[in-house]
Symmetry: C2
Subunit: 375 residues, 2 copies
């Protein structure tokens, strides 16, 4: 363990939580991030200020590491291929990453590997849209660089074409779904795979917004098994080492379709830090260190409430209502080390624990609006 | 939260675990330690290399903080009194610390506050021992500076007097006991108190050594309630803000006697990081930040196995048998960030979790000798 130099590409909150878990393993850690005030800044042995999309920067950083991982998938993959060739352990592997970075390759990979997913077409340019009127309504997604809902637009008819992306995109058939779920799988160097239980995105009953994440998902046992089987299959097929978060839709006729994947710790797994003996972060480290994977059984039902910056506030963050929030038993806070808030910025999360699904939902409804992040 | 500058006196493993938990609260942290390679070195915004026993060093360090706490009790308390006077929040309070630092004052405090404890006498010098032959067998304990079994000697008869300490000591009547237990209490700025469940030191059946720590303790419900009541009483009487670990003996006739206390996170509470939703470290932070205390209920029984450097090895630590240890479900490792091992040095711990007491003991017996720390 003493000779491992673990490099992380990206120094945001996912890197921060990974470093937090990494303390248990005595790792020497290095972090590369373009923001000199990144949340990981003070938590590693070496912080390198630089661009993880730049070949030379990633290559030079990687040469100082024995083991390299990511907390964001939009990194320079060519540099990773070269580092792998020169003997650095790179997990997830560059070959897996190359497929995932490009939504077009990702979708083709699903088709080739019998992974259920919404029907799609690949477009080199927006002007090709004219040829696909029969395929609407559909989502047009940028093949590269999209994140958190950016790089996605909904095209219902020809009238929407002016807002279409002028770049290589995937045109994905709009699929009606009942529930959006996620399964986080880990696969270690030796090929052992373990999945965390299915998580459900619970929508707000009035607004069309995710209200919170609930574990376990409120779907039938059969659907849970199916979701875990599909996620395990994708993880193995993609030759993942580390974590793979697999986001899926459950359709009204009981089908499960893979929406997209992320080869790293994921927002839908943060509750595992409190609700499971093994967190997704410990699991990622076990996987890339070649250690046996930890037990993924939860202690109890859990809800994750994302803490976003209030609309209308930008500046140094203030946390209003924290004592009132934490006075509820089973409520824990996790802040991301960000000094400044802005509207809808992810500033942290609350984890809510209770012995039953009903209780955890009630408790989340009680406390979820008590805390406001203002400036 | 953004304006808090939390200083920690001491940068060892307890400080390290406190910083690890502190990440959840976005705290700006400063650490003072005389070892420039202390385990906290890379985990805080400001690491100050200096002696926490020195008045000027502690005072200057404290002036840079808004909130000051400790991970070791042998710090300069006069500087803390001065800092408190000048408006720094110091928790535990210097007045509590002053009593705890001196085993003589500690014992007198128990007597004055009706805390059950073994009978004792105070000695200014060892030559007074002649006057206390009637009090033997007894333990002679240094009033100040003892730790981890250092500063304690057993005197059975006059023949042991040559090994007696030549300093102010407590002579404590030897009490036969059946079980050694510990309760960690937290008390916050507002005076709310919560106790973690009772932990038992389980002795090795053959060797006269602590084998592991077991939570919950295998004592009757009535004794558990008594232990928690006593620990709560001591915590309140000492006006603790933060944690107080209360180590106690259970005697064959069902009495509980307080042995000693530590006003900080404690080895007997490390399992709470995995087995309880609120860890002792989160609880300490909630307490000193004036936040409501977290739920102390455990998810399941747990065992803590301390990982000590193997006898006969000194140098850069190597961890032999880690994969074999971690392949058992419910076993987690926590290393303390120490590069070098030496015989019996505390290098980390294992936490073992299982649904029942029997299972957790079986599992601990299976894995506890698999991992060796050598050089």
């Amino acid at each position: 363990m003493n000779n491992i130099r673990l490099g992380i590409l990206g120094g945001g909150q996912l890197g921060r939580m990974l470093l937090q878990a990494g303390l248990d393993f005595n790792l020497y850690t290095l972090v590369l991030d373009p923001d000199e005030n990144a949340p990981c800044r003070h938590l590693c042995e070496e912080f390198v200020h630089g661009d993880f999309k730049d070949y030379d920067t990633v290559y030079a950083f990687g040469k100082r590491c024995t083991l390299l991982t990511i907390e964001i998938e939009h990194v320079n993959v060519d540099a990773l291929f070269q580092l792998e060739k020169e003997g650095v352990q790179v997990y997830p592997k560059p070959a897996s990453l190359k497929i995932i970075q490009d939504k077009g390759l990702q979708k083709e990979f699903y088709r080739q590997n019998a992974v259920p997913t919404a029907d799609f077409r690949l477009l080199a340019q927006a002007d090709e849209l004219e040829n696909h009127l029969d395929f609407l309504p559909a989502f047009q997604k940028l093949r590269r660089g999209g994140y958190d809902g950016n790089g996605v637009t909904r095209l219902t008819s020809q009238e929407d074409f002016p807002k279409a992306f002028q770049a290589p995109t995937v045109l994905e058939k709009l699929v009606p779904f009942e529930t959006e779920i996620s399964v986080i799988c880990a696969r270690n160097v030796q090929g052992e795979v373990k999945a965390f239980p299915v998580v459900e995105q619970v929508m707000h009953p009035q607004h069309n917004l995710v209200d919170y994440l609930l574990a376990p998902a409120q779907i039938s046992y059969k659907l849970q098994r199916m979701a875990i089987e599909i996620a395990t299959h994708v993880t193995t097929a993609l030759d993942i080492v580390g974590l793979l978060a697999v986001e899926m839709f459950v359709t009204p006729d009981g089908q499960i379709l893979v929406n997209e994947v992320a080869p790293r710790p994921h927002n839908s797994g943060h509750h595992t830090m409190k609700a499971n003996a093994t967190s997704q972060f410990e699991q990622h480290l076990r996987a890339i260190l070649g250690l046996p994977l930890g037990d993924t059984e939860p202690h109890c039902p859990a809800i994750l409430v994302n803490l976003l910056g209030e609309a209308g506030y930008a500046g140094e963050a203030k946390y209003e209502g924290l004592p009132q929030t934490l006075q509820e038993p089973g409520v824990h806070i996790h802040l991301y080390g960000k000094k400044f808030t802005r509207p809808h910025r992810k500033m942290g999360h609350l984890t809510v624990l209770a012995p039953t699904l009903e209780e955890v939902k009630q408790k989340a409804d009680t406390i979820k609006n008590r805390l406001k992040i203002i400036a």
